[in-house]
């Protein structure tokens, strides 16, 4: 009987370890890697990722492509991402703090190379019950509005470059992209 009990305890510990590791270890490891690559970069500002950091965080992309990153934080209010992209294929993707994607857009879907996306925090249960606004994705006068499931995360602008010689031009265009808190009116 005692052995069966301890076998059960062992199995429970195995299950708890499994669930904890699968749920919590990947986001923690990712946060550590992200912090190592973007330690000096402030929140709610956009910046062209240095080639070394780009290769570390996006190893499937060739070094010639360009990534603009914004570490957003909506705890103090919505954040606006204004993307200026070169002509051709590009993507804009929103990730939560845990690295899970919540929004994605390509050049074809946007239909333009300059777009504005407002990232707003998810409404609290009380706000939802009081009907304080919509959730999800919507088009407003100021551009696209998307709801982030978490208070902080990453907005990633990415554009491949056909010819490595054209990279400086793509960097120059994308460096005009902006990310920052929405001014209080």
């Amino acid at each position: 009987m005692g052995r069966v009990f301890w076998l059960g305890v062992g199995l429970l510990v195995a299950i708890a370890t499994y669930i904890s590791y699968v749920l919590f270890a990947p986001p923690l490891l990712f946060q550590r890697a992200l912090a190592a690559q973007t330690r000096d970069l402030p929140q709610n500002q956009s910046f062209v990722l240095a080639p070394e950091a780009q290769m570390a965080l996006f190893p499937a992309y060739p070094a010639s492509s360009v990534v603009v990153l914004c570490k957003y934080d909506v705890s103090a209010g919505p954040v606006t991402v204004t993307a200026h992209m070169p002509f051709g294929y590009w993507t804009l993707t929103g990730y939560g703090r845990d690295g899970k994607q919540f929004y994605s857009l390509t050049d074809e879907q946007a239909g333009t190379n300059s777009i504005t996306m407002r990232i707003v925090p998810r409404l609290s249960l009380l706000e939802q019950m009081l009907g304080s606004g919509g959730e999800g994705e919507s088009l407003t006068a100021a551009g696209w509005q998307v709801t982030t499931p978490q208070k902080s995360g990453l907005a990633v602008l990415w554009a491949p470059v056909d010819d490595p010689m054209q990279r400086p031009l793509a960097v120059e265009i994308m460096a005009h992209s902006r990310c920052g808190p929405v001014p209080k009116s």
């Binding site: 005692g2 301890w6 076998l7 305890v9 062992g10 199995l11 429970l12 510990v13 195995a14 299950i15 708890a16 370890t17 499994y18 904890s20 590791y21 699968v22 749920l23 270890a25 990947p26 986001p27 490891l29 990712f30 550590r32 890697a33 992200l34 190592a36 070394e52 290769m55 570390a56 965080l57 996006f58 190893p59 499937a60 992309y61 060739p62 070094a63 010639s64 492509s65 294929y89 993507t91 993707t93 990730y95 845990d98 690295g99 899970k100 994607q101 994605s104 390509t106 074809e108 990453l154 990633v156 491949p160 470059v161 056909d162 010819d163």
Partner: protein, 182 residues
């Protein structure tokens, strides 16, 4: 004291078993074979699938941003069409026609499909296709004519293929891989 011994004896293997199972799940449960493309496995990153947390976890664990599933599909394989492991001491030839893609890239990855900084990557604009539009890439340690990817060592590796924005309704035909010599 005896109970403490029992507890430790039961819990230590439990923790070990949990860690091994979790590690295995993260590297295996997030991908599945690709219909019509034997040998290739696809990372199931679309959030609606049961495998998505494992697939995302696999990328996050290696400290990389998971590919955006809405506009990219990610595939990998670590064996050729005849089942031989991809190794750096042999020459392998990848051939196919990546039609219907707006962008693609091919990277050499670790055997489990994970990518590390500095792994060789070739992308759509970097390669030369044949007159018929076919793609031929050789993977070998020594320089090869045409498109060439150099494995980082003599050991095993995997191919990691990213298909960017596949056209709606178009069946994806992934490249074939054959061993040319060792």
């Amino acid at each position: 004291m005896r109970n403490l011994n029992f507890a430790l004896t039961a819990m230590a293997p439990g923790v070990g078993l949990g860690l091994v199972a979790a590690s295995w799940s993260l590297s295996s449960a997030g991908s599945s074979p690709v219909l019509g493309n034997p040998g290739w496995r696809e990372w199931q990153l679309a959030t609606a699938t049961d495998a998505a947390p494992y697939a995302a976890g696999f990328f996050l664990s290696s400290g990389t941003v998971p590919p955006a599933s809405a506009h990219a599909r990610s595939f990998f394989r670590n064996r050729d069409d005849e089942g031989n492991a991809l190794t750096g001491d042999c020459v392998f030839v990848l051939s196919g026609r990546p039609a219907g893609l707006r962008w693609w890239s091919l990277a050499l990855a670790n055997e489990d499909g994970s990518l590390k900084p500095g792994h060789p990557v070739l992308a759509a604009p970097d390669v030369v296709t044949t007159a018929d539009g076919d793609l031929v890439i050789r993977m070998a340690r020594r320089a090869q004519p045409g498109n060439w990817l150099r494995p980082p060592g003599d050991g095993r590796y995997a191919l990691y293929f990213t298909a960017g924005s596949p056209l709606e309704g178009m069946a994806l035909q992934l490249p074939a891989i054959k061993r040319e010599g060792c």
